[in-house]
Amino acid sequence: MSAHVEAAIEWYFKGEIAQPRERDALFAHLGACVHCRAKFDAQSAANDALSGRRFAKVDLDAMLPALLEGAAPPRRRLSWVAWLAPALTVCAVLVFFIPQSELTPKGGGLRGPPAIEALCFDTQAQLAAHRTATGGCPAPGFVKLVFAAPETVPVLNLVVLGADGAVRWSADVTTPKPRDVIGDYIELAKGDELRVIAVAGDRSTPLEVARTMAAVMTIRGEP
């Protein structure tokens, strides 16, 4: 006998189940549990009834987070990352030699959002700017984030939203070291506005929760 999963069904319909393995675990349970299956069907039927259609868009919205997460975007495999390595070495040296006291917000510690900085690269992968707070970066180009807190945290969730509120990029990093450069990048176009949200915690914060939090910095794409 297994427990019922009403709470997970609600999370699913709120679009809060973003990890494919969590979604698959839920559906494996729904395949075997008549009670939970009926609960799921009732929620979906309510959406249909409210929308006046056979399959409501609200239902579709619930599926998308896990699908996109599982789609494994190939950007991590792009070849430019390889030729960015020399520039990253330069920026890493630069970042490590800037005194911590100049980079870490005073009194921030780990009680509030963790300190995050941004490294701005042009299209030639040359380091163009280093932002410790809201500001502009040359565009088109790329932005990489730096974990700038003085101590590690169990899990660091990073979410970057565009001006329209859509998630442009997200990452969960386990026990990042102070001054770690996060191993991925965000493309920046002219006129772009990237709102960077950082959440530190003992465990991963669901994307849909993290994205509602206040931004620690905003990066604008400037010509």
Binding site: E10, F13, K14, G15, P20, R23, F27, L30, G31, R37, F40, D41, A42, Q43, S44, A45, A46, N47, A49, L50, S51, G52, R54, F55, A56, K57, V58, D59, L60, D61, A62, M63, L64, A66, L67, L68, G70, A71, A72, P73, P74, R75, G165, A166, R211, T212
Partner: protein
């Protein structure tokens, strides 16, 4: 709707696995896949013409839609798509194969037939479904009448106009959290309301 046969930038984005393009493809086609999975379709198995009547449970429909788009978003499928025929046909073939596999009907030898889409059911409901639907519409109307003006506006924006949660929040001056709580709460209230009404009707017969 993105037309990948015409929009080369979008086609490249799909092949690269660009999240924004994948999201738009899902928005454009997921409703149709759900209708195929719930409404059924005709197909041939060997010489025999058969019909799949559609899954009755939303769990199965959600599961099929998820598997279809997981497949459509896989690198193998992205690269295999020619970009010369509409993506809808490609997605239908994937949907059909997934559903038939689930139904344990082997249909591997049949050549891919994009024209099969023409054998799909129309959007029209069967008479018994229409009666049930009319009853449901009446109940939803009664339920909506019990809501306040702001909640009714919420239902209209979110469920009838299909606006995303952040847009609904902006329009109503609500936080994202409030939008989500309201959505869950209204869904639960409607379910209770319908159960009560149906129970009352059954008792009065």
């Amino acid at each position: 709707m993105i037309d990948l046969t015409q929009d080369r930038v979008a086609l490249d984005g799909y092949r690269r696995g660009d999240r924004a393009i994948l999201g738009r493809i899902f928005e454009d086609h997921a409703g149709q896949v759900a209708r195929w999975a719930s409404g059924g379709f005709s197909f041939r198995s060997g010489e025999e013409r058969r019909r799949f009547d559609g899954f009755r449970s939303a769990v199965d429909v959600h599961d099929v839609v998820n598997e279809v788009f997981r497949t459509v978003f896989e690198e193998r499928a992205r690269v295999a798509y020619s970009g010369l025929t509409p993506l809808e046909g490609y997605i239908f073939v994937i949907t059909r194969n997934i559903i038939l596999r689930r139904l344990k009907i082997m249909d591997r030898d049949r050549p891919i037939d994009v024209d099969s889409i023409e054998a799909l059911p129309s959007e029209e409901l069967a008479p018994d479904e229409r009666i049930a639907r009319e009853e449901e519409v009446t109940m939803v109307r009664e339920f909506l009448a019990t809501l306040g003006e702001e909640e009714q506006r919420f239902v209209s924006l979110r469920f009838s106009e299909d606006r995303p949660q952040n847009e609904v929040g902006d329009q109503l001056g609500w936080s994202r959290k409030k939008v989500r709580l309201q959505e869950t709460s209204i869904r639960a209230s409607l379910t209770r309301f319908m159960l009560r009404r149906r129970g009352t009707r059954e008792l009065s017969v």
